[in-house]
């Protein structure tokens, strides 16, 4: 869990205990939730339902990966939900006007996200504005731009092939699900095994120390926001392909679910601590709850209440575990 120290210290018994408690507690909770739903509804444990959970999780997973990187540096990215909307609108706009450019669609979305993320990244890296403000500004502006693109209207009547981007199957799974799996695996490796990963942890854990140690913080800060924006852009294309339209209100509030997943996964909002594996777990826990509670017919507003309680529980557990070891 504590990857900043991991390469430098040999883990003590206390750290091991803490790691064990946190990781296993979340896994245990996940298992209890799954068991409860499986017991309550016969259809929960079916491949069809697993597909449904994964498809719903995929767009969140992409932005949660970016959010994890940003939060590891001690920042926050509020703009991803709006970037999803903007990316879906721009992509739909281009494809509607030029159906022959369909193959470019994912690239357009990624570029839109990259540009938006880069602006936040520059603002934060140059220390002009704190992350909360920079991404709040992009969130507001990108949402506005999403409406500008379609002159306030959604873009529909797209070629049917546009729907294929997210809706064909490769080896039984749809592209968004594959991208989620590849993204999570790739970024876990990047974070655990590469210099880039190490530097992200260092910048977030102690920016002063990392500067003294010779790490240039600015490029790292810039790149995490740019990556987060890019992934949000991709997520926007996938979502908009799923509903075969560009919607200016797509992705509304998604940033909060992504932040929740990261926090439930054990990351610290102060930076330097957290893992992709934890985020994946937090994300699947939220999505499994959404799915299972729908199966049981629990109204959407109760689902929010339960999600809120889960966040408090997960973070308290984390704080409690940290105190235990620091004593």
């Amino acid at each position: 869990m504590n990857a900043v120290n991991a390469p430098f210290d040999t883990p003590t018994t206390a750290t091991r205990v803490r790691d064990f408690v946190i990781r296993r507690a979340m896994v245990l909770m996940m298992l209890i939730v799954i068991a409860a739903f499986a017991f309550a509804n016969d259809n929960f444990f079916t491949t069809g339902n697993l597909q449904a959970v994964l498809i719903a999780a995929a767009p969140f997973a992409l932005i949660a990966i970016g959010q994890t990187l940003v939060i590891l540096t001690g920042g926050i990215d509020l703009s991803v939900g709006s970037i999803i909307a903007l990316s879906s609108m721009v992509t739909a706009f281009v494809v509607k006007g030029n159906p022959e450019l369909l193959w470019l669609a994912p690239l357009i979305g990624i570029v839109v996200g990259l540009v938006a993320g880069s602006i936040s990244g520059l603002l934060v890296a140059r220390d002009l504005v704190p992350p909360f403000i920079a991404t709040l500004a992009i969130m507001t502006a990108a949402s506005g731009m999403a409406y500008v693109v379609g002159n306030g209207s959604p873009i529909s009547g797209l070629p049917a092939e546009y729907g294929l981007i997210a809706n064909f199957t490769v080896l039984g799974l749809r592209p968004p699900v594959w991208l989620m799996i590849i993204g999570l695996v790739a970024f876990s490796i990047v974070m655990a095994r590469t210099t880039f990963g190490l530097r992200v942890y260092a910048v977030g854990g102690n920016p002063q120390a990392s500067r003294i140690a010779g790490v240039r913080n600015a490029p790292i800060l810039y790149s995490v926001y740019a990556l987060s924006g890019m992934l949000a852009g991709l997520s926007g294309v996938l979502l908009s392909s799923r509903v075969v339209s560009g919607l200016p209100n797509l992705g509304q509030g998604y940033e909060l679910d992504a932040i929740a997943a990261v926090v439930i996964g054990g990351a610290s909002l102060f930076g330097g601590r957290g893992t992709m594996w934890g985020t994946a777990l937090g994300l699947l826990l939220i999505q499994t709850l959404n799915n299972g509670l729908d199966l049981l017919g629990v109204p959407a507003y109760w689902q929010s209440v339960i999600k809120g309680a889960l966040i408090v529980f997960a973070v308290s557990l984390d704080v409690w575990a940290s105190r235990r070891t620091s004593r």
Binding site: G150, Q252, N290
Partner: protein, 351 residues
Amino acid sequence: MAKKTWLSTLAVGAALALSLTACSGTADPGNSNEPGGGDEKLTIGLTVNDTTSFVNEGKDALQAYADAHDIDLIINDPKGDVTTQASQIEQFIRQGVDGIMVIAVQPDALNQQVADAKEAGIPLLNINSALNSPDTAGSVEPDDVEAGAAIAQAMIDHIGGSGNVVILEGPFGNSGQVLRKEGIDRVLAENPDITVLASDTANWARDEAANKMANWLTAHGDKIDGVIAENDDMGLGALQAIREAGKSIPVVGIDGLQDGLRAIESGEFIGTVLQNGSIELPLGLALTVAVINGEITGDAAHIAFKMPYVTQDDVALYIDHLVENKPAFIEKVPAIVDRNLKSGDYSNESE
């Protein structure tokens, strides 16, 4: 320095505008700030949530009507927040507009502002959604209860009077959701052989409805005979989930969005209640002008807008108006709306 000058100019301007409107408000409570202003250009303020597809579909026609009658239209978006909407109405009153159109975020929260407008002698009309205040000068309200009843009845007829349905609802407490559900519930109560397997909100949104429907398909398998969606966006999301599951289940919606009409054409939607913003919003504007000019007053200024239920039989006409030849249709809207306001056949789309 330059910034300061700019700011102070603005402040002086605002103060001037304020004092001017205050004067005219007291001096001439019966009319707006232009006594006998029939020939003057009218200024009308509109506060409307910009995010709904329905409003967007109607904005071009609204603007066309305003242009045709040389009306200055100021549109503000409260972004779903009722206090923002309240401030926007207050702002319109301070500006001294000739009339105010409100598409209310909530039906019960704007009484003070509506009363203020009345006191300032500015007619305030609520368009498209309920506004529970005795002080409105008029209204154009689509009958959402009837729309809900119509789609429930259509679905029940389609599945032969008995079977299982699921219902996708708007955000709980939103007037559209409350009223449409009232209509749906009324029809359900008359049909005891219909079972509601699940009913929950998908917040008017396509992506949310797709996930919700996928989960319901898992929970209830092949037992679902029909989907009643309180708007087309959610119906289209449900349709996506149904396609992904490789099933075929009839869906009914409300709004008549482009994609919804196309789904009726292809037979995946059995129908939709058409809420044609291109007719309804300009009608609201036409009524506002008529009220300002004193041509329509009292109860006559409260219009119930009957929304037609569109099926595969007549969907072609509406696709022509709303999708394929929309610009041509919009050019004709001012004349159609003026005619409808006189005849009382408000949703008539023929030329």
